[in-house]
Every structure is written in structure tokens, then in C-alpha cells.
Symmetry: C5
Subunit: 321 residues, 5 copies
């Protein structure tokens, strides 16, 4: 689905143009074409390939999807795959944005992603001096916006970890902790696959030999790299804490086991001792003087209760109860 | 076993040629010879060595098999070992394809692998312009086809992991989970040994100093490298989740232990208390007034049942039962 | 909040100058301006941006905060983010110092940090020859002071670990050990995020191509790098020991479980045996000669006590009690 | 002990020469001297040092032994330490071969190793064209032979792992599994110390700047490197599986614990219930009508048996028995 | 404390000189001054700084101590920090040797270390040709001596591990094993911090651009690097085995738990069954024919003993007892 297809000149919008005219506008010396697609049909991609003269392999990647994030040079143009992450019903939905960047065009293809990039275009059209930086700057703005949307996701994961910690240390709910830790791990892996390859790719745009279309934007891509490195650091930290949490939870489970066994032992003793006394006074020896005492029975009961009280307080003291 | 032995000129098939004529065709300036062997006899390999003038060490590797994946230069020719993976009865069968690539020939030797590469040859013969790219392109097409066949294997491993997760969290079958996790681990190791060395090898064909026969196909090998990196990432992710799964399963086992102990304790109490009461009323004191009451016996039974009901509901409340 | 705003010439203080005059003093050939802000308003930062001509992205980073430690070049000036760490109520409070360094100015912006850097300025003003080294030396002095403040934090963490070890091996308090280990882990992660990126950044100032403002101070930054590497080593060591501590604690928990089970078993036997004897002498057979013995009852009691004493000493011997 | 001391010319053996003549033969332009020692006395090494003019530090290393595998240049000669591994009584015996390689000599010193290298010499003497490659080729042949002898050791370790797996999943012998896993780990560490440094060392002979005596044999050393990398990969794989095996075995131990507890609980219930019934019918209430029934006793027994059968089948159903 | 202060010329000792004359001797063209301090006062260090013209930062490091091992260039001189390790009462005492090396002097400062380096000086004075190599050789001799003293420490740690293994597999002393493993881990960490940074530092003296004072001693420092790498390998191996040992010990603890539970269950059954029989024959039914048999009582006792013997041998058979 075509979202926008606009030609600009000297940073100002000339016109919404039909798809068929793209290749003509690209020939004009000062024109700059910025096209946005959303979940396109294969036919739409083929059309774009024709109009922009995109490389076979790049279009193939965009068509098939499920690529890992990357930024590749094809001659004097770039092809980037960047993943979007949107939380939905406690899960992370990963979308994919393919960006084709040429000297005088940017084509973004958004897949499985709800949030668009209209705000970038709106700001760029309000501030024409930004668009004058050319396609490299638009490319930066797209990637920067996607990366900025990772931060709330990371914050969400940190909140999840805090809830798990509270479950371990305060609420003692080991079964749901286990599930929550495993769920957190899955999300961390998802984010890792989204962030790490992109970090590697943007790092190459901020230093050393930089592709021509990104010349002059190194500092901007260094900034993105920096943000990604911060996210990467947070993910590593979360991962480390999650590993510790799983061990700590196991420790808690085993501690609970010990405590249950202690309780079992204490109550078993409290029941078994009077049972023994009752057994003794159930013996059938002829010559048991207690049997004839009028206070034999209450004495036996008192003995049972007395021993049990002693046991009870002793077990409280050693914290088995 | 000889599968195919064909000479091409300007991208078009000239003829199926007998093995003995290979060396002659290789001398023709524009000819290109493409030979495919399957599980060959040592003698066949020796013959090929003669006809193509292959390097001693490369032929030795092909003869012995069980090499790790690699791509090596011998003068102006290449020798590649690539592994095939085919799932069979829940196991992964690893085969080996040895590819000898020279300026005007490609020799592929397939071992322990069911699926062949006829589709590549068929497509190449349908579209002669592809074959014109020369032996580098045929080499790429072979490796690409093998790598594409890894994806369904990875999907299968991901499905296995999901079944293990379901076993851990929903079906509570720790014993079979353990076996399944161990089996998954074994397959992950198999895939790792197949993928990682190849990733390293193809990476060297997509940048820096590239062997002569691969000149002009860098972008294609970058694409393969990319696919391998995606597979590598998935394997790393699976491995990480498998490690977590094993710990989570252990946690579940220990939780079950605690719950069994709690049940044991609860039922022990429910049986022990009436046993104690019965013991008390089995004592032989002369002066036990209850013995003479006509409702003494029903009262004792009611006491047993009453205490047990209280215990039962209390244990339900604290979730020991 | 403006803390200091001073112009220097040839290492000597000329005057406290108003913020508006900074840009004028910067134009003077020999002047050096050193400004310190604390938790500034956005407007203050904008003002500084104007006066010093700071780079957009650097100011943006300083405004938003929560950056990871880094040292970046913008033309002939540097922008550094360094974290401060201050223990407070058993937690680590992480603050942030942003330092802008130009050929003839240093601007430090301190956020969420209690301790200031007055001592550095005081010393620099007492010893004018130090200030003559220029902005690179002031930059070094600031970073060095912050890094030196990490050492007592590390010492504190080492003390925490020793307390945990004592808890594991001498006081046997597994529940509080688990919490303490987890808390230690959290602090280690905090320190890691503070130290590791800074180590990477200062390493680049001590060798290879050094930014112009740091020329001549390589040996000083090598010294900082060295201190950071020592801290890094200590953190890695603490982390390794913490991982071992968690496993050791788990082992202790399981050992305790075994010991509780042994005690349970021993006491169960000590109670069950006399109960059995009492049961036997509670049987109703007509022909039980013991019943008629006058010492039958004491004999039975003696038997119970005797068997229990034997059991008790035997369990002591095998260390189940 | 001197094993062999032979002078060759143009690939053909001239004579077995006495040790004292080595230095003279070395002066002849086309001569090549190949000496093999076994567990030599210090004096023998000193003699060799004189005859061949070996470097102080290299001879020192050979004398002391217990070096890690390495290949070092001393001027235009090489000194290599390679470890041999020979299984003996279920243990791995590590020997050491020191190889001194000069432009026209090879001296191998074998320590604590049973298998020699006579077959290499025999083959070299049968095929004089091989010896013409010079000392580099002899060096390759020695290292290659040693490395090839690692493969059966690795196969043995893989068999050990399979036996452990069978012990875990089929024979349920956790105690002997633990020992076997630990033993396997020890052997893996031994092999790792043998293989990894050698891999690093041979890698440097197969590319980049190659020592003069190895010129022309790069492809051969690449082949060795390849074999070592395969062994290295297998060791890493074994190590990973061993780590998983230890966790899996722990899981099995804990599962067994749970199952023992379940059995304990089930049988405890099956014994306790009839004990309770017997207790109830042992009460001394006057008014217990069952006592007077002629079928009271058989009814009580039947009740006990009946309840126990119900319990038994129920426990079978929930798989506690 | 001044240990030695000697001036040499052409490898021969001229005189023990007073500290104040050092700077004068340094000016003589062929003189070489070798000074050794032990646990010096700050004033002594200041004096040395003056006499030798040492760098501020290096002296500062030496004064404060607790540096990590390193070798740093300051102009044409070197500053090295090397740690000594001495076992004492089962602990490892880490000392520190600071070595200042200039073109014609060596100053060693030993802290917290019992063993000195008199043997090096003695040997050097006996064999003047060694001293002619200059300060680089003395530096090598000092570091080599320190590193050689690490080997017995490593041997000690290996012995500790063997004792732990014996404790795990033969003596079954899990509590003391845990302590011993933790103690071993602490020592491994200590050694790691001593060895790893030094390995990194000496590696830079054995290849690439070598500081001037070490020219000509590359092969010697390569030898040290080699020894350190061997120690490093041993430490890594010990660490790996220690990690496995901790898991193995945990497995053993859990196995013991299972065995205790089995024993508990078996003895519980052996006591409970006769208790049940006694309970049955304690019932008060009128019509229990056994009561009137003259052999009823012995029969009941025989029944108890018989069932218990069966149980006992059955439990032996299934190895629960």
C-alpha cells in the first residue's frame, strides 16, 4: 500500500506524484523523491524496482522479509533492514522496515508495524533546511525514530524484572516467577536480535570509510550507535540479572522445601509423642498402678498436652515452626 | 557415481561429454565444464584429479570426507567443503558436498545427501545469461541452495523448543522434557558445526581480497553470508533459550518435590490425628467416664471426622492440598 | 545552577565573570574559561551552547541525561559523559557529569551528584603551573577525581562479599544470603555500566591518534585507564566470586535439607520403636505371659528406653543427630 | 637415547652417521641430517646443542619439558613443542616431542611417548622426491603424524559421552554418571591444552609471513591447521554436551528424589489407614455395637484391605507407585 | 629500606655506593647502577626519584602500591609492576615489586614480599658477561625469577583440587568440599589478577615495536610470556575443573538426600508394618479366634518378624538399604 509519494526541490515539497513518474523526477537535477510503502504487494515492489532501479538482491530481501537488521551498499545506494518492536498483549511484535537510500531518493517499506513515520515527514516539511541535507539525513531520521521507540520497550522489560524480583523476595510465588523469568528471557532474546546487528551496522556509518550518501551525517549516526550501545548495555544487564534471578529463585524453592520438611518434622513429633503415650497406657499389663488411680486419665492427658507444649515452643525457638 | 558431465559454451549446453574428454574441453577457450558426482568411488576421484588437474591435498580431503566446512584457494582454483543437513526420523543427517571451482569448470561431489542440485542446472540451462557469469556464479548457486535448505531445519528446531516449553509450563512432564532438551542440544551442536565454519569462509568471499574465480559475485556471497548470519543468530538464540529451559525445568522439578512433600505432610496429619484420638480412647484407665457414655463411640468418631475436616479445609486454604 | 564561572590567564585567575561575557573572554588569545554547572535548567544549557558554541547533539545528550559514559570529538572540542557513584542507604546513586572541553575552555555539568570538584579548582588556583597545561589537564583532573571516588565503592562491595561469605560458612543464614548476593549483583551491574564504557573511552586518549586538546596528557590518561582497568578487574573478580557464592549457597541449602531429613528420620525412629513395643503389649491375646508378671510393665518401659538410648547413640555416631 | 642419526643427499640416504660427525655433514652443501632422540639424557641434549648450534633457550625448554605446545623462530631455525596423547588404562598419557628444524637438519626429541615416527622415515626413504622438499616437509610430516593420532582419542571421548548419555537416560545410574562426567571433563581439559596452543602455532605457518624453512609448505600446514580446527570443534562440542549432561543428570537425580518421596507417601498412606482402623476398633467404649457382631472382625479386616486396594490403584493411576 | 646499591662497569662491580652518589655514577658513560629497595619509606622513594630522575606518575604508583601488574614506557625508561605470590598458612600473600629500568640503571622496589633477589645479583656478579647485556637483561632476570616462583603455587592449587576431588568421590564430605572449592576459587582469582595483566604486558616486549632498553632481549621475554601462558592455561584449566567440581558436589549432595530418603522410607516401613499387626491384634472384637489360641501371641510376633525380614531383604535388593 502506497502511503506517500512526494517530490521535493530545495527542501520544499513540489507535489504528490504518481508512482509512474518517479523515474522522471529522479532525472531532474535538484529533485528529491521520498516514497513510503506499507505492507506492499510483490507487484508494488517490482514497480519500485523499475522506477528507482533497485538492486535485484535488495528487492529480493525486501520481498521475502524476515531478514536480520543490516545496512548494505549497492553501488552508490544503500539498502537497510531495521526492525520495529511494538509491545502488544504482553508480547513483543517485531516488524520490519526496509529502507532504500539513493543520492536523491529514499524509499521506506514498512511491514507488520503499526506506527508510521508521518511525524518525520511533517517535521521535515515544516523545516525545509533539514531536507536540504539530502537523503542521508532522511535515512538518519527514520532510523533514529525507530531506535528511539526501543527505549520504552527496554523500560518495560526493566519493570518486568522488578516485578520478578518482588515475586522472589516478597511474595514467594516461585511457580509464576519461573514463568515470568522465562518470558522475560524470550523478550530479551527478541530485542537482542533486533538491536545487536543494527548496532554493528550503524557503527560502520559513524567512522572509517562512510558510504557517499551518508557523508556529513557521521556525527548523527554516531549518536544512533550510542543509543543502541546504551540499549545493548541495558539488555546485557537485564540478561545477567535474569540469569541470577533464575538461580536465586531455585535457591528459594529449595529453601522452601527445607522449611516444609522442618514443619513436617515438627508436627509429626507433636502428634507422635502423645500417640506413644496413649499406646503405653493402652498396654494390657495386669500390674499397671496408674490404671487404678482416679486421676490417671487426666494425668495422661495432661502429660500429652504438656509434652506437646514444650515441643511446640522449642520448635518455635529453633524456627522449625 | 557420475550424475552429470556437461560442457557449455557461451552459457549454452554443447553436449553431455564422457569423463575422458573433460581435459580436452577445458583447453577450448570458451568452454565451461560442469560435472556432478554422487558418493564416488576412489577411482572416480582419481580420474577427476587427472582430468581437472586438482590439487593433491584437496582430493585427499574429498576422499576421506568428515572435513569441517571450508573454502580454500589452491592457486587460481577453489576447493570448498559444505555440509548438507537433512532431517530423518527425528535425527539430523549431515552430508558433505565437495566443490572444486576453476576458471572454466565446476566439479561438485555429493556424499550422504539425498537431495541433489538438478534444479540449479535446469534453471541455468533455461537462462543462459546466468551461466555466462562463469564458474563463480555456479559455485554461488550451489552454496546458496545448500544454505537455503538449512532454514526449514532451523524452523524444526524452533518447533521442538516450543514443544519443550509447553511440556515445562503446561503438561508438567519433566522426565521427557529433560530428554527433549538434551536432544535439542545435540541438534544445535550439529548445526553449529555445519554453519559456523561456513559463515567464516563465505565472509571472506564477500569483501577484502576475493579469489579470482569469485570476482564480480561479492554481493551474492554477501547475501549468503547474511543468511548464514541469520541462521547463526537463530542457533545462538535457541541455545540460550535451551540453557534457560534446562534451569527452568530443574526449578519445576524442585517445585514439584516441594508440593509432593506438602501433600505428604497434609495427608500424614489427616491420618495421624484420628489415630491419636483412637489411641487415647484405647487407654486402659479404669476411670475414663467417656467409656460409659452411650454416645461415647459416635462422639469419638465425630471428633475424628470433625478435626479432619478442619485440617482438610485449612490445608486447602494454604494450598498444601 | 551556576557553581563557578571563572576566567584565567597564564594559569592565574583573572575574575569571576558573568555568564554573558564567556564568549568575549574566549576570543582573547590567552584566556582560559572554566565553568561549572550543577543540575542546570534547560535554559542555562542553551545559554552555554550559545556562549561556547557547543554542538547540537552534545547539548542534546547533556539535556536528556541517562547517557552511557563516553568521550566524543566534535571538531576540535571534546564532549565527555562520566558517571559518579555515591553510596547512600546501602544503595548506589549514579550521577552524571557532562564535560565540554575546548582548546581554551572547560565546562562541567554535574547532575544528581552530591560531591563537587571545588578541591580541583582550589588546587589548580594554588598551583598556577598546572593550569598552564591548559584544558586537557583540567579535563584529566576532573575525570581522575571521579575515578578515584570509585575505589571506596569497590572496597564497600568487597566488604559486602566478605559478609556474604561469612553468612554462608559461619552463620548459615541462606535466606538472607540469597538476598544479599542478589543485591551485590545489582550493584556490580551498576558499577560495570559506569566503568566499562569509560575504560574504553579513556583508552583511546592514552595512545594512537589523540584529540588535540589532550595532546601532551597521554601519560595522565594512561594512568586513569590503568586505574579503571584495576577497578574493572576487581569487578570481574567480584562477579566471579558472586557466581560461585550463589552456587555454594545453593549447595549449603541442599546440605541443610539433607541434614533436616536425617534428623527427621532419626527422631521418627526413636518415637516409632517404643510405639511399636506399646502396640505389641496392647494386643489382646489371652496367652501373653508377660501380662501377668509383676514386673512386666516396668520391663516394657525399660525396653523402650533402652532401645531408644541405643538408637540415640547410634544416630549420634553416624552424625544424623 | 639415540634412535636414528642419518645423513641424506638429494633425498637419498648416504649413511647412518655417528653423533660427533653431525656438524661436519651440516657443512656439506647438499647434505640433510635427520636425527631422532628418545627420552634423552641432559648430556645428549648438550651434545646436540653443540653439533647443531641450537639456541640456549630452546635447549633449556627441551631439557625441562612440560612446555605448552608452540612453534618459535630462532633466527633461521624453528623450535617446536608438540604434545602426543596416548590412551592407557582409561587415562590419557601426554608426551612431548621437541622438534628443532634448520635449513638442512631436523632433530626430533621424543619424551614419554610410546609410538615413534619410524614409518615417516621409512616412507621418506622409499620416496626420495618427498625428502627433496627439505626440512620443512619433514617437519610437516612429523606434526601431521602426531595430529592424526589425536583423532582416535577424540573418537574415544565421543564414545565415553555416549556411554554417559546411556547411563543418564536408560540405566539411571546417577552416581557413576557423575564420576564419568567428571572424568570426561578432565580428559577434555587435557586435550584442550594439547590442541589449542598448537592450533594457534600452526595457523601462523599457513599464511602471512612464513618462516623460511617452511616456505612452500603453506598448503600442508593449512591442512594441519584444518585438522586441528576440526578437533578443536569436536572438543568444544564435547565440552558443551558435557556441561549439559551434568545439568541433565542433576535434573534426573532430583526427579528420582521426587519419585522416592511419592513412593514413600503412597506406602505410608497404605500402611497408616489400616493402622487407624485398627486403632478405632481398639477403643474401649462400652457401647460399640460392632464388637458384638460375629462378623465384626472379618468386616474390619475387609475394610482395611478394601481401602488399601482403592488407595493402591489410585496411586498407580496418578503414577505415584 | 635499602638492600643494595651497587655500581658496575663492563659487567664488573666497582663499588657499593651511597644513595647520594647515584646521579653522579649515572653520568659516567660505561657505569651501570643497580639498586634494590625493600618496603621503602616515602622519603626514600623521593630520594630515588631525584637521583634517577624518575617520572612523577610512576613514583606515585610505586608509593601508593596496589597497582595491577603492568609495564609502561616513560620516554626511554620503563616502569614495571610485578606481583609476587607467597603461600602462607594456606593463604596466598601477594606482594608487589616495582621495577624502574633506564638505559644504565635498574631500581627494584620490593613490598610485602619475603623472598629477595640476591641470587640474581650473585649470579650476575659471578658471570660478568651477563651483566654486559645491560639493564634489559637484569630486568628480564628479575621478572623471570618472579614468574618462576609462580609454578610451585600453581602446583599447590592443583594438589588442592585433587584433594577436593578425593573428598567428592571417596570421602563424601560435601560440607568441607564446598568450603575447599570456594577457597580454591578465591586463590584462582588472586592468581588470575597476578598473571593475566603481566602476560599482556610481557607479550608486548617480545614482538612488534620493543622499548629501547629491551632491544636484544625479545627471545628472553618471549620465554617469560611462554611461561606465563602456561600458567594462564593451568589457571583456566583449574577454573574450569573447579566449576565442574561445584556442580558435581551439588549432584552428590542431592544424591545423598535421595539415599537418606530411601533409607528413611525403608526403615519406616519396617517399623510400621509390625505396628499395624499389633494394632490389629489390639482390636476389641469379641469374636477374634486368634485371641484364644495358645500360640496366638508367638504367631503374631513371628508374623511381625517374618514380614520385616522379607521387607529388609527386599530393600537390600533394590539398594534402598
Amino acid at each position: 500500500m502506497l502511503v506517500n509519494c512526494v517530490a521535493y526541490q530545495e527542501g520544499r515539497k513540489i507535489a504528490d506524484i504518481p508512482k509512474e513518474d518517479i523515474s522522471e523526477y529522479l532525472k531532474k537535477p535538484d529533485a528529491f523523491v521520498w516514497v513510503a510503502l506499507k505492507d506492499p504487494e510483490p507487484a508494488e515492489l517490482d514497480e519500485m524496482k523499475e522506477e528507482f532501479g533497485l538492486h535485484e538482491l535488495a528487492v529480493e530481501d525486501a520481498r521475502q522479509g524476515h531478514e536480520r537488521p543490516k545496512i548494505e551498499e549497492y553501488g552508490d545506494s544503500l539498502f537497510a533492514v531495521v526492525h520495529t518492536v511494538e509491545p502488544k498483549d504482553g508480547e513483543l511484535v517485531v516488524g520490519e522496515v526496509n529502507i532504500f537510500v539513493g543520492p536523491n531518493y529514499v524509499l521506506s517499506v514498512r511491514n507488520h508495524s503499526e506506527k508510521g513515520f508521518q511525524s518525520i515527514r511533517a517535521r521535515a516539511e515544516r523545516e525545509p533546511h533539514l531536507l536540504k541535507h539530502g537523503s542521508g539525513y532522511v535515512f538518519y531520521a527514520l532510523v533514529d525514530t525507530i531506535v528511539d521507540r526501543y527505549f520504552p520497550v527496554i523500560d518495560g522489560l526493566e519493570t518486568e524484572l522488578e516485578e520478578i524480583e518482588s515475586g522472589i523476595f516478597h511474595q514467594n510465588t516461585p511457580r509464576s516467577n519461573i514463568k515470568a523469568i522465562y518470558g522475560l528471557k524470550q523478550k530479551l532474546m527478541t530485542m537482542k536480535h533486533v538491536v545487536d546487528p543494527l548496532l554493528e551496522a550503524t557503527g560502520r556509518l559513524s567512522g572509517g570509510r562512510v558510504p557517499q550518501v551518508c557523508e556529513g551525517t557521521e556525527a548523527y549516526f554516531r549518536d544512533i550507535t550510542d543509543h543502541l550501545q546504551r540499549i545493548h548495555g541495558s539488555l546485557e544487564g537485564l540478561r545477567d540479572m535474569q540469569t541470577t534471578a533464575i538461580q536465586v529463585n531455585l535457591g528459594m524453592i529449595n529453601l522452601n522445601e527445607t522449611e516444609v520438611t522442618k514443619k513436617l518434622a515438627a508436627w509429626a513429633a507433636i502428634i507422635a509423642i502423645p500417640t506413644l503415650i496413649a499406646g503405653i497406657y493402652g498396654m494390657n499389663f495386669k500390674n499397671m498402678p496408674e490404671y487404678d488411680l482416679s486421676y490417671g486419665y487426666p494425668f495422661a492427658l495432661a502429660l500429652m498436652v504438656g509434652v506437646d507444649l514444650l515441643l511446640y515452643f522449642w520448635f518455635r525457638k529453633i524456627r522449625w515452626l
